[in-house]
């Protein structure tokens, strides 16, 4: 009985809420999961705690992370975007083709990001003024954009190298974006990820736009009667998502330096959504933080890396990945008392 009372009391502080707070109950769980995972790997393997390996992990999660930041905005606004894998492919390949066609880096990048923004805008229009469930709208776009990418490249792999006609300097700069290292050790991709995460965190936590995203996702009706133009906010979230998906796709091509419309970013959408939701965002909107998303992304990256280091058979890896996702979110849920 005293237990129940205390429960009530304990609920109060949790009630205080602000998106800027660094660690919320929600994230604490995920953070704990990540921590225990790392500790375990630190002892279980010798390769894990090396700076090289950690920076590798950093690089390997960067593209997923960049997209997850965008997905955080979309999910908080109460929508979902399944087309990110296709945008990733289309924009990346488009940019690559432009560079091969001899364009300068600036214009090529701009064009690539614009395609992402455009597709995102379309996603937004369909999910707001078009009054389609964003799941359907973006599912449709998923296959439309994939088809467009296949048509654009005629199904052929796109490889950005001098042999295919890319200008040497442009190529150098482009490759640096994807393969370069700062101070010789920190991968450029990671820099991009951290930069965008920081930016996303700032926008979401401190700007009026960020506030509106939360408001719109929490209750579109309430936001509407307060004079927030719900549709505009959601459309912007989709555009942001589109641009970030495009950026990730471009970086991927800059890293590889080759992609193929039939394969690049296939099924990526589920990874991105998983990472974001593991990080505490909710499909029903109004919930989520960038920090949580970063943690979610790291959990997935660290786990993949760890399983490989431990020499777990690929099939068992597949099994473990699912298990860890469930446990990661579970820890958070099960550590907090049920509030019916």
């Amino acid at each position: 009985m005293a237990d129940a009372v205390r429960a009530g009391a304990r609920a109060a502080p949790a009630g205080r809420w602000s998106p800027t707070r660094l660690l919320q109950a929600r994230e604490a769980g995920v953070f704990f999961a990540l921590l225990s995972l790392c500790l375990f790997l630190a002892v279980a393997t010798d390769g894990f705690l090396t700076s090289t390996n950690l920076l590798n992990v950093g690089r390997q999660v960067s593209l997923l992370g960049i997209m997850a930041v965008g997905m955080t905005f979309v999910l908080i606004s109460g929508e979902v975007d399944l087309s990110v894998g296709s945008i990733y492919a289309f924009s990346g390949l488009a940019t690559g083709m432009l560079i091969i066609a001899g364009w300068a880096l600036g214009p090529a990048l701009a064009a690539g990001l614009l395609t992402g923004a455009g597709i995102g805008f379309l996603n937004g229009l369909l999910s707001t003024y078009g009054r389609l469930p964003s799941l359907i709208a973006t599912l449709g776009m998923l296959s439309m954009v994939r088809g467009a990418a296949l048509l654009l490249t005629n199904g052929q792999p796109v490889t950005v190298n001098a042999r295919n006609g890319a200008d040497a300097d442009v190529l150098a700069a482009f490759s640096f974006m994807g393969q370069g290292y700062v101070f010789g050790i920190v991968p450029m991709q990671l820099i991009f990820f951290l930069g965008i995460a920081a930016l996303g965190w700032f926008v979401l936590s401190f700007t009026t736009f960020g506030f509106r995203v939360f408001a719109v996702g929490g209750s579109a009706k309430a936001a509407r009667v307060s004079g927030i133009s719900v549709y505009a906010v959601k459309i912007w979230a989709f555009v942001l998502m589109g641009v970030l998906a495009a950026l990730a796709g471009i970086l991927s091509l800059a890293f590889l330096p080759s992609g193929q419309a039939g394969r690049t970013g296939l099924g990526l959408e589920l990874d991105v959504i998983a990472a974001t939701i593991v990080g505490g965002a909710s499909l029903s909107g109004g919930e989520g933080t960038i920090l949580g998303t970063i943690l979610g992304v790291l959990i997935i990256g660290v786990m993949r890396n760890g399983l490989v280091l431990m020499g777990v058979s690929p099939f068992v890896q597949e099994l473990m990945i699912g298990l860890v996702i469930i446990i990661a979110v579970g820890i958070d849920k099960w550590s907090t008392r049920r509030t019916a």
Binding site: G47, T50, T52, N53, N56, Q60, L63, G155, P157, T159, N161, Q179, S252, L256, P257, S258, G259, Q260, A261, G262, R263, L266, R304, N305, V308, L309, G311, P314, F315, Q317, E318
Partner: protein, 301 residues
């Protein structure tokens, strides 16, 4: 031809070799979840036994270039040798070169990566095997007919290579027309449905040339279920159970084996020989053709 002498072998590996320690060789296959992985793996293990090395059979579940790269990056520290079959030539070439620069010997198998500086390749010349398939198709059709090429993954490197070869060979035969390649998707139901629909859409197709394991039996099954053996000929790849049966029953005219077990074996074998100082060069695992006449060799045991 590559020799250890010309290769800057990493000190830690050299030390191991001198100390006569067991080397750890990683074999990265482009999709460990496809039907050949088990055969390749078997070959890898056989070679590991004979060559007295630890061989780890790794690779992505589902062909995924990023995953394959990440895995290699992660394992670089602990590999004394790498045998790899690339998801995508262009995407994997840089990593392969990075591994080589680290003083770790790298060979390719099954799917070659000519753009990289790999030491040698063990497997089938895919373009060549494509040509063979093309020729077989042309012959079974008696030099004239309408051919549909099918593949479960038009995007895959091996598929692109084989298609190149096949089209080349078929173009050489004036009486033969080749229509749109059919990309069937990878789920068995999808594959069959795609072929079923395509045959309805193109009733005048007389030859189906499948580029891989899995649309081959599907095409044969379609012929069998529609009693089309007289008007539609099928040429394909590999020796899945159903393929073997359908060749036997005359619904598939010819299939090309690529000896996956041997490819796996050679992959490791090349590396073990290389580190012991033996010069190595490409190993062609050959193109063995099976028809109704010799399919019996594949005895079920």
């Amino acid at each position: 031809q590559s020799k250890l002498a010309d290769f800057p072998l990493a000190d830690r590996i050299k030390a191991k070799v001198d100390a006569g320690e067991k080397l750890t060789i990683y074999v990265s296959y482009h999709d460990v979840s496809n039907e050949f992985a088990p055969f390749m793996k078997a070959g890898v293990e056989r070679a590991a036994g004979e060559g007295n090395v630890n061989a780890q059979f790794v690779g992505p579940v589902g062909a995924d270039a990023d995953a394959q790269i990440s895995e290699i990056e992660t394992l670089m520290g602990q590999m004394d040798g790498l045998a790899i079959s690339s998801v995508s030539t262009d995407a994997l070439a840089p990593v392969i070169n990075r591994v080589l620069e680290a003083g770790i010997p790298v060979v390719t198998f099954n799917t070659d990566n000519p753009d990289s500086k790999r030491l040698a390749f063990a497997g089938q010349d895919l373009v060549q095997s494509g040509r063979e398939a093309g020729k077989l198709m042309a012959d079974t059709l008696g030099g004239k007919g309408k051919v549909m090429i099918t593949t479960i993954d038009a995007a895959a490197q091996w598929s692109i290579d084989r298609e190149t070869g096949a089209r080349e060979a078929l173009k050489a035969v004036p009486g033969i027309e080749v229509i749109n390649t059919l990309n069937t998707g990878t789920d068995p139901q999808e594959i069959y449905a795609a072929i079923e629909n395509a045959m309805l859409a193109n009733p005048d197709v007389t030859g189906v040339l499948s580029l891989e394991c899995c649309s081959t039996p599907a095409a044969g099954t379609w012929v069998e279920r529609n009693n089309a053996q007289d008007r539609v000929k099928v040429v394909g790849f590999d020796l899945l159970d159903e393929t073997v049966r359908l060749v036997g029953s005359g619904h598939i005219q010819a299939t090309i084996d690529q000896a996956p077990e041997q490819q796996g074996f050679e992959a490791v074998n090349l590396l073990t020989r290389f580190v012991t100082g033996e010069p190595i060069e490409n190993v062609d695992t050959g193109v063995k053709v099976y028809t109704e006449d010799n399919i019996a060799e594949i005895a079920k045991n």
